[in-house]
């Protein structure tokens, strides 16, 4: 690919900022969670771009391995997080994060 690395990193940064905005602005807990996934994904994009910039050299594939681990951890995080959201919905009947400001059930 003949695209300068700066462009890919800029796209990664833009996607990350959009994820941050989603966390700050939205109050639906599931959408906030999806924004976090967006941020993880933009970080993965930057990692892949850096791995590509280190090529040739098969050692650069360590970046790919790191992205693989990030995806696995994200899968675990989604499982636990969605279970938490379901548990909160069971007690509060709402997943609006403004309604869940008190820790006591």
């Amino acid at each position: 690919m003949n695209v300068p690395m700066d462009y890919v990193l800029a796209l990664s940064g833009i996607l990350f900022v959009l994820g941050v905005l989603g966390v700050l602005v939205r109050r639906n807990a599931i959408v906030i969670f999806m924004s976090i996934e967006l941020m993880l994904n933009s970080a993965n994009l930057a990692l892949i771009a850096f791995a590509r910039a280190m090529a040739p050299g098969i050692e650069a594939q360590r970046g790919h391995v790191l992205v693989f681990f990030v995806i696995a951890v994200a899968a675990a995080e989604v499982a636990v997080g969605l279970a938490l959201i379901v548990a909160i919905f069971k007690t509060k009947q709402s997943i609006d994060v403004d309604q869940v400001s008190s820790l006591q059930g």
Binding site: A53, P56, A74, A76
Partner: protein
């Protein structure tokens, strides 16, 4: 303007527009579907960056498994329409201001050459990023982290089951 550049800008436009649509759509189901589109766009970007294995993992795990889980929970809770009026009127402007500050910092790091990135890309070696090659790296050098990941996934599964278990059935 090479074909790669055209491809990159097309995919990047799709990714950014789908991310923005995810943020602004009122219905959580639409948000999830726009996020799937975003993940697929980024997966094709991985293909452009010679990361074939990671692109396939992205499509199967992220766009497949994780987003199906999201959609399942959204439909289970019937939570696609909740969004009350904002109780903090200054929240939106402050969030946009903070986002602009973050973009400015990214631009400073990227174009102010604080971080030494960029330069021309050279060609990749044979099999770079292919499943066989990444798998060899994974199992030669990162076998222990790989196994720890499996334990992590097991713990997450147990945690999810414990969190969503119905306590009233236990006492019966």
């Amino acid at each position: 303007m090479t074909i790669d550049l055209i491809l990159f800008f097309g995919i990047a436009t799709i990714a950014v527009i789908s991310a923005i649509s995810m943020l602004v759509s009122r219905n959580a189901v639409y948000s999830a579907l726009f996020l799937v589109l975003n993940f697929v766009a980024i997966a094709s970007l991985y293909l452009l960056l010679n990361a074939a294995f990671i692109a396939m993992v992205q499509v199967t795990v992220y766009a497949g498994a994780i987003m199906v889980l999201f959609l399942f929970v959204i439909m289970l809770l019937g939570a696609e329409k909740v969004e009350t009026s904002p109780s903090l009127p200054w929240q939106m402007p402050v969030a946009i201001l903070l986002g602009l500050v973050l973009i400015a910092e990214f631009a400073y790091v990227l174009f102010g050459r604080v971080a030494q990135v960029g330069g021309e890309l050279v060609g990749v070696g044979e099999g770079f990023g292919s499943p066989a090659s990444v798998g060899r790296t994974l199992f030669d050098q990162y076998l222990v982290p790989f196994e720890v990941t499996s334990i992590l996934l097991l713990v997450a599964m147990v945690g999810a089951i414990v969190l969503t278990r119905d306590d009233r059935k236990e006492s019966r």
